[in-house]
């Protein structure tokens, strides 16, 4: 199974700033998903980007995918205290299960 590697491991920003986190993976994919996990809760799906897409938006989220570099980035604009959570990427190749890396722990300070 393919696992993404998120970077940085931890990120601390002020409310209103933008937060960027990255994901790298090793083999070719069909899609890549991003999930958020608030402390003590289950994961929540944020966005799915397909391998033929380069950028996708959802509200304050912007995801990019560069298949040539085998990397993706998640940008959260105008961050809020409620965005404090761990963020995970999950590369998918259609015949592999959904697996996760260690994630990026984001702290947004009010």
């Amino acid at each position: 199974s393919q696992q993404g590697e998120e970077d940085p491991q931890a990120l601390s920003i002020q409310e209103g700033e933008n937060a960027t986190m990255n994901c790298s993976y090793k083999t070719s994919i069909n899609n890549l998903q991003w999930y958020r996990q608030n402390s003590g809760r289950g994961l929540v799906h944020l966005i799915l980007i397909r391998s033929n897409e380069r950028e996708k938006h959802s509200g304050r989220l912007r995801v990019t995918l560069d298949t040539s570099k085998k990397s993706s980035s998640l940008l959260i604009t105008a961050s809020r205290a409620a965005d404090t959570a761990s963020y995970f990427c999950a590369p998918g190749s259609g015949n592999t299960p959904l697996v996760f890396g260690k994630g990026t722990r984001l702290s947004v300070i009010a």
């Binding site: 199974s1 899609n31 998903q33 289950g42 994961l43 799906h45 259609g94 959904l98 996760f100």
Partner: protein, 115 residues
Amino acid sequence: EAGVAQSPRYKIIEKRQSVAFWCNPISGHATLYWYQQILGQGPKLLIQFQNNGVVDDSQLPKDRFSAERLKGVDSTLKIQPAKLEDSAVYLCASSFMAQGAGEAFFGQGTRLTVV
């Protein structure tokens, strides 16, 4: 639409005891996952079902862990006997799509403490 239901929410047991967790996925979702998440780490896939068949259980410690999904709906995960290092949150997730092709929906998890 009802979400993924898990029970119990919390469980404390002594080492060498047995424990079972239950998961009811979203109706119509053929794919069901069980994950183990140790504090400070990402979720680790234990087993994936497609309907009532096992797709991947390569990370399941089969000497003590077992899982089943009767009739391709509800699933139970059992640990027998438990060890201290089994203390973790056990997450269940389901998806309409097979493998990693689509969005997965997660339950709230069961927090297991082994003392």
